[in-house]
Symmetry: C2
Subunit: 168 residues, 2 copies
DNA sequence: TATTGTTATACTCTATAACTATA
DNA sequence: TATAGTTATAGAGTATAACAATA
């Protein structure tokens, strides 16, 4: 879009496109590896990874849904797949009978451990090999700020009802 | 993964997660806007945007496929949708009868023009509002370097045909 | 009444392979 | 033989809405 970019200067536009391309290529490469190494989609890997990191290896469905998947039914679907493979187990929550506790099984932990080195290696090769130490520090600073801002800016609840931007 | 990250230090790991999260949230927000404002997916918007930027508003299917979609049949599918809506037109290439030239129609240009301000506005709000001028410069430098490196590093499973592995 | 989670269902998108046609 | 593109088909993933159960 060389001409019509009313709200962004060319440096911003370039950074935006670069971010999208880098994110897309990285996601693609990582996804490909996870499938080949462990027959996992990136979403499934995220679910397992969050569980491995959680105290006791367990989280409620709702907590898991926050930040991993965009709908509850989507998480139920993914959890069903992981459950069927024996990578997680679901049990009723003792303190709230509506909730379901999801726990990583040993098999789930093993799979994450098996997949992680190659995963991390791909990230290193693609993302960090071309960076200098200064690059890394700068990137951390900027992305941290942006992430905090995005988290604080309600992304999905801000649905304009009577919309200003409708297509004719 | 606080424990098992053999190949990345914690700063790198944090930067990686931040990048994925920022990219994912940005993609989601932008996609949502494009659908609401113009009933376009991000892929469709990319196709139109590339055409608008191309000399004469036209590109061959193959050139379009490079960097936009992951398979040729995927592009045929998306082009079919855009064609049906009158946003692009397809015609045989005069110099090579195997090729198909894709051209943005006036309706396609209008839709891009209609959608672009809101698109850019969302990017500005989410990505650039929390940044300082130094941040932007740093981000551009790092992402530029990383993107060049990624483009120069084709995925190992480079498939003979189709696919995603082209320098852009 | 609101929240948690599942299910049923429909839809979008993507990839693979077979196919046609041209270089 | 290799390339350009389409089609048929199958599969993964997602969202929406209805639903049941609990708070």
């Amino acid at each position: 879009m060389s001409d019509a970019a009313p709200g962004l200067n060319s440096e911003q536009l370039g950074a935006y496109f670069a971010l999208m391309e880098v994110g897309s290529l990285l996601q693609y490469a990582v996804d490909e590896h996870l499938r080949a190494a462990g027959d996992l989609s990136y979403v499934q890997f995220q679910i397992l990874a969050r569980l491995v990191d959680a105290p006791g290896g367990r989280l409620r469905m709702t907590d898991l849904a926050d930040g991993v998947v965009y709908s509850r039914s989507g998480l139920t679907y993914q959890a069903g797949l992981l459950d069927k493979r024996g990578l997680i187990a679901r049990s009723p929550a003792p303190d709230d009978d509506r909730s379901v506790l999801v726990t990583v099984t040993d098999a789930g932990r093993d799979l994450v451990a098996h997949v992680l080195p190659g995963h991390v290696e791909r990230v290193r090769q693609l993302l960090f090999d071309p960076m200098t130490g200064t690059d890394l520090a700068a990137l951390s600073t900027v992305l941290g700020r942006v992430r905090d801002h995005m988290r604080a800016t309600p992304p999905r609840s801000a649905k304009p009802r009577g919309g200003r931007n409708r297509a004719g």
